[in-house]
């Protein structure tokens, strides 16, 4: 399955067939022309960064930090080694857009990173790829070989005198490595434990050197921005929300998958593109930005637009653009239990509030789901989340807390029912039917 649908597509243009990921195919689609132009024109580094700034491209990994601004933090005159790192450690439940980029368009990432390396004076880059998508790690290595052979990476790119080499590094099963400083630690051959900031990677990054880390989709967007111009790219989205974005739609829809749409597209349109609700059932809730984003009830969601500001207004975060759709067969306690388990399991164990707090949260939600809830549990959960949030080195503690807070906020009755009646409001067979496991065909 390729990228299923697109409105005003860029990243996903021409991505069909088995060979789309090959260098030849990419070049046919206009690939590497941006890098070639930058190098041949010896475009000043500042100009490249300016173009990115003009596009108002915001980091596609989840935090939405303006990319051009981030690039400008790199000390361009720093004489020693500098690094450009791509974060393809996509493991936030609901998110699977980078997987498709790596699968169908790896050279756009390579080209984007090479341009970034040029703009920031970095001669080396790493792409950190989620260990679970092993086939795509291998594919990326092959794409790197193609690019190296063609002179798009390596030393003295296209005779420009600029050298940039790029390597793939695989993860091996740790969600936290999607956090940029944990990812750096992981490349250094350590446990993926996030670093306290400051210092920020731009001054103390990989191996202690200035480093810029961007998401796969962010880098993949760079060639398009350089080709069409920053302003034109911005036009494709709403003000302050430039460009198109890949949305990963999962859960109770008929056609889960990736959809490239301009930022600002109504959620209803996206849901329609994804084939509507599975079995024609009613939307109950949606997590619009990956599992750490607060859950949004159906009514609010149906009126929201898919952009940073729109989702923020709906009380959540656009995050990585992972849209988890839940219909009326969903038990919200069970859903939260699974998410809480995830954050407990993936806590790196470094900071006290997260290490201890995430397990506490899970244990209490687990009790409630299993008919062992106690009066006061919901207040306890809320209190524990307040003690975690904002008290840890990285955002995993917050990410674990926000689902708990939002699920209880919007579905408190359902939780209270579990505690009081020791069972779920949604009958188990109804829940089971919702998954469609025994009825679905591909």
């Amino acid at each position: 399955m390729a990228i299923l649908g697109a409105l005003n597509p860029m990243l996903s243009v021409g991505l069909d067939g088995d060979k789309a990921w090959r260098l030849a195919d990419y070049v046919k689609r206009g690939g590497y022309s941006a890098l070639r132009r930058v190098l041949e024109q010896k475009m000043p580094q500042g100009e490249v960064i300016n173009e990115v700034k003009k596009s108002v491209l915001r980091g596609r990994g989840g935090a939405g930090f303006p990319t051009g601004l981030k690039w400008s933090f790199m000390p361009r005159s720093f004489p020693g080694d500098k690094y450009v790192v791509c974060n393809s450690d996509e493991g936030e439940p609901g998110t699977f857009k980078d997987r498709d980029i790596l699968r169908y368009n790896p050279h756009s990432v390579i080209e984007g990173m090479a341009i970034a390396g040029y703009a920031m004076g970095a001669a080396r880059g790493y792409n950190y790829i989620h260990g679970e998508v092993w086939e795509l790690y291998e594919r990326f290595e092959e794409a790197l070989d193609e690019a190296r052979a063609a002179g798009f990476i390596g030393s003295d790119l296209l005779g420009s005198g600029f050298s940039f080499d790029l390597f793939a590094h695989h993860g091996y099963g740790a969600y936290i490595c999607g956090e940029e400083t944990a990812l750096l630690e992981s490349i250094e051959g350590k446990k993926g434990q996030p670093r306290f900031k400051p210092p920020f990677p731009a001054s103390f990054g990989l191996y202690g050197k200035p480093t810029t880390i961007n998401n796969t989709e962010t880098f993949a967007s760079i060639p398009y921005i350089m080709n069409m111009g920053g302003e034109a790219y911005l036009e494709a989205g709403k003000p302050n929300n430039g460009g198109t974005k890949l949305f990963s739609v999962s859960g109770h829809v008929n056609r889960p998958g990736n959809y490239e749409i301009p930022l600002g597209t109504p959620f209803a349109t996206l849901l329609e593109m994804a084939g509507g609700m599975r079995g024609g059932r009613k939307l109950k809730a949606c997590i619009p930005g990956g599992s750490s984003a607060p859950v949004v009830p159906a009514a609010t969601m149906m009126n929201a637009t898919m952009d940073y500001d729109g989702i923020s207004k709906a009380g959540s975060m656009l995050g990585s653009g992972a849209v988890i759709v839940m219909d009326e067969t969903t038990c919200m306690v069970k859903a939260l239990e699974r998410l809480s388990f995830f954050y407990y399991e993936e806590s790196c164990g470094q900071c006290t509030p997260c290490r201890e707090g995430t397990s506490w949260l899970y244990k209490v939600v687990h009790r409630i789901e299993n008919g062992q809830g106690r009066p006061g549990d919901l207040d306890l959960l809320e209190s524990v989340t307040t003690n975690i949030m904002g008290r840890t080195i990285c955002a995993l503690g917050d990410a674990a807390s926000m689902p708990v807070q939002s699920f209880i906020k919007h579905y408190r009755d359902e939780f209270a029912y579990h505690i009081e009646h020791k069972k779920c409001l949604v009958p188990v067979d109804v829940q089971r039917a919702g998954s469609g496991f025994f009825t679905a065909t591909v």
Partner: protein
């Protein structure tokens, strides 16, 4: 930069953290993972404070101060955050302080009083963490108590230089462990016990033997190596129960070595001598002090009158107190004998009488961190001087270039700039090569006698490093002082220092290596080697065990066995003394006497006894004083060790005068390597002195395994032996059978056989020729 903390203004340098600033203004911020000597982890989150304009509380340990910053360490926001963290720390922590060995001296317990709740909201099952066996020194039986601050892990990585503990797994299942079943072997490991803020890592020998509030804390000084680490000795019912470091940034910082921490077990060992003994009809019998002293004084007088004073000799341990050393030499000189020494492991005395003053480190320990380059010559650095090595490790980590020229390829766990490992016989030549390289680099005349030397690239790199930067130093280690050509090494080091502008110094073997010189416990006739090479009629041994402590134990023991009288002043009555001693006088170890040690930087540190003498044991200085009286010698009327000390150095001295490493009139004469097999003898860390030898937990460590005969593959092949087979080692009339071990760090043509161990006590010279064959 200016910062306001709880309304108090502080000026702090750029790069300071809120924690630094808080300490400056005296504001206490609760913390666990933060430690002044370790990198910042910011993981416990206990030090969260409120910072004006910051939306979230920030960790004081990791947050850099910005100009004009306003910090509130006890505001509602800060305290709420701190209490929140405390609750998390306690949910999985066993709440059984009364049965925890750390109870009463636990940071978590202390802070829980201020920040913990009175009841737990955590109703779930607590985490279970399995215990680990990590060796005889550290107990990790209670790992459920661990709060994951990672101080122990960082200590290993950053201070000990070897990562033996790590935090495995993740999430709430994170746990501190060694690599599957390994022991913790660092010679600094005990410091992790101090660093552990809870009862997870505790002292295995001390475990459950006392409660912290039952212990009285007394100040003392380490009697082991030449650093003079400051100690707190903890005492219960007149028994030393535990030894801890006492902070002295200029000496031992906040650390001590395991030898210093755990040797106290010997103080309470059954080997302690409780009463004087005299050999009667071949057997040692307990007698009263007056009988023993009477016997000794008469016997000494008889020998002097019958055979002359020159037939007496006295040898002291360099770990004796300044006062003991002084009175011993005074006694000998009073009797008319110049045969007195305190350097039992020395072989070459040709610089005696030609020194500019008392040999010492050449600079203060606290200056090491400012050095740009260091060369250490002839040292088993890490095991000879754990804390000195630690300082060099920190220096090398910063930017100092540390080089090592020795006969040991042991991993110093220091990021060395250069390392040359040569046979003992080649050591002077190798140092000469560095001297020559330095002269060439400076375009100065090459000192006479070095013409034929061709400096290798490493020698040149070392010479170059010593020519760069502001402050540099050349240090001679124990093996350089014990070396058969010690004076040559000394002369070369002085020359190298002169050429490069570095300081030259001796690291010093023992607690009173400098003090012995000040006490003038030096020969005017036969030295420590000659007094056995030319056997005497009578010997007085002060705290020394010649079969383990002498350069040539074979020769020493033979002389002692042939002597008419051997008087030992010793805390211990076991061992070879039983064979050769005629009189055993029980003197007290450092915990039961007052006295002084002068450390390698010339710092005089006096101490008092921390417990009463065991049995009838008496302070050595008192025994010597009474002997002086019985022998009717002049100048033995001191009433306190302080009076003795004040005769040696002026009262109120901190750093002694007369320190000088210059040497004159020792001509350079470098010898070319002989073709025969040479011995390299290290003094294993836990056999280095009588206390360590009898410390039972230390004796169970990996550093205390019995010596082997280590050779490189080429040497093994030449001798037609293989790794693991028994070999017979011969020196002179003595032999030992040890297991041969392949060890590529041993230089060609050498066999490394430890000294100071009963299994090798029959052998001869530490750095002499040795014969090895299949047993």
């Amino acid at each position: 930069m200016e910062i306001e903390i709880d309304g108090k203004i502080a000026q702090v340098p750029d790069g300071s953290t809120i924690m630094d600033a808080a300490q400056q203004v005296g504001a206490y911020i609760p913390h666990f993972c933060y430690h002044k000597k370790l990198s910042i982890a910011a993981n416990c989150r206990m030090c969260l404070v409120q910072v004006e304009k910051a939306p979230k509380p920030l960790p004081a340990c990791a947050t850099p101060v910005t100009n004009g910053m306003k910090v509130f360490t006890h505001s509602e926001l800060a305290v709420k955050a701190q209490k929140g963290v405390m609750e998390f720390l306690l949910i999985n922590h066993p709440l059984d302080c009364p049965i925890c060995d750390q109870g009463g001296e636990c940071q978590l317990q202390d802070l829980a009083v201020g920040y913990g709740g009175s009841a737990s909201r955590f109703q779930e099952d607590k985490r279970v963490v399995f215990h680990k066996d990590v060796g005889p020194l550290i107990s990790m039986q209670e790992m459920a108590r661990c709060i994951h601050c990672t101080r122990c892990v960082r200590f290993g990585q950053e201070i000990a230089g070897v990562m033996e503990l790590g935090m495995a797994n993740r999430n709430m299942h994170s746990e501190i462990t060694t690599f599957v079943g390994r022991s913790v072997d660092s010679e600094l490991s005990g410091n992790m016990i101090d660093l552990c803020p809870v009862g997870a890592l505790t002292s295995r020998p001390f475990r459950y033997s006392a409660r912290s509030w039952e212990l009285s804390r007394r100040r003392s000084i380490s009697p082991h190596d030449s650093i003079g680490a400051n100690l707190t000795v903890q005492v219960k019912n007149n028994v030393v129960m535990r030894v801890l470091p006492r902070d002295n940034e200029d000496v031992n910082e906040c650390w001590i070595s395991d030898k210093e921490r755990f040797s106290y077990e010997a103080l309470n060992s059954p080997a302690r001598l409780g009463r004087p003994m005299i050999r009667v009809d071949g057997a040692l019998r307990e007698v009263d002090w007056n009988v023993a002293l009477d016997y000794v004084s008469h016997a000494l007088k008889d020998i002097v009158s019958n055979s002359g004073a020159a037939s007496l000799a006295a040898l002291a341990s360099p770990q004796s107190t300044l006062e003991e050393l002084y009175l011993l030499q005074k006694l000998m000189h009073g009797l008319g004998s110049g045969n007195v020494d305190f350097r039992p492991r020395r072989r070459d005395f040709s610089a005696d009488g030609k020194l500019g003053g008392v040999p010492w480190l050449g600079l203060q320990l606290s200056e090491i961190k400012n050095l740009d380059a260091v060369l250490v010559v002839g040292s088993f650095l890490r095991k000879d001087h754990p804390l000195f090595a630690q300082r060099l490790r920190q220096l090398a980590k910063k930017s100092g270039k540390v080089s090592l020229l020795s006969s040991s390829g042991d991993d110093s766990l220091i990021n060395l700039h250069a390392q040359l490992t040569v046979s003992p016989a080649d050591l002077p030549l190798a140092l000469a090569a560095v001297v020559k390289a330095a002269a060439q680099l400076k375009n100065e005349a090459v000192p006479a006698g070095l013409d034929s030397i061709d400096p290798c690239a490493t020698s040149q790199a070392i010479a170059r490093s010593l020519l760069d930067g502001e402050k540099r130093a050349v240090f001679l280690g124990n093996a350089a002082e014990q070396h058969p050509q010690a004076a040559q090494l000394h002369v070369l080091a002085v020359e190298l220092a002169r050429l490069t502008g570095a300081t030259c110094g001796f690291i010093g073997e023992a607690a009173n290596s400098v003090g012995g010189h000040l006490a003038k416990a030096l020969p005017t006739a036969l030295n420590a080697y000659e007094m056995f090479a030319q056997p005497r009629k009578a010997y007085i041994l002060l705290g020394v065990e010649p079969e383990l402590d002498c350069y040539d134990p074979q020769q020493a023991v033979a002389a002692l066995k042939g002597a008419a009288l051997v008087v030992m002043l010793t805390p211990f009555g076991d061992g070879a003394a039983q064979d050769y001693a005629d009189v055993l006088l029980p003197i007290t170890p450092f915990t039961e006497t007052s006295g002084s040690f002068v450390n390698t930087e010339g710092r005089i540190q006096s101490f008092t006894g921390v417990v009463r003498p065991l049995g009838d044991a008496r302070p050595g200085w008192k025994v010597l004083r009474v002997l002086g009286n019985l022998l009717a010698l002049a100048g033995f009327d001191q009433n306190s060790s302080e009076q003795v000390r004040d005769e040696i150095v002026p009262a109120g001295t901190t750093f002694v005068a007369g320190l000088d490493n210059r040497v004159s009139d020792v001509p350079l004469s470098l010898m070319v390597t002989a073709g025969e097999l040479q011995r390299i003898a290290d003094v294993p860390i836990y056999f280095a002195d009588p206390l360590a030898r009898r410390a039972s937990a230390l004796q169970k460590t990996r550093d205390a395994v019995a010596p082997t005969a280590r050779m490189n593959a080429a040497t093994l092949a030449r001798l037609a032996v293989t790794d693991g087979v028994p070999v017979r080692l011969r020196q002179g009339n003595g032999e030992a059978v040890l297991t041969a071990r392949a060890d590529e760090t041993v230089p060609a043509g050498c066999v490394r056989v430890a000294a100071a161990h009963v299994t090798t006590a029959a052998l001869g010279e530490m750095f002499g020729a040795i014969n090895v064959e299949r047993a």
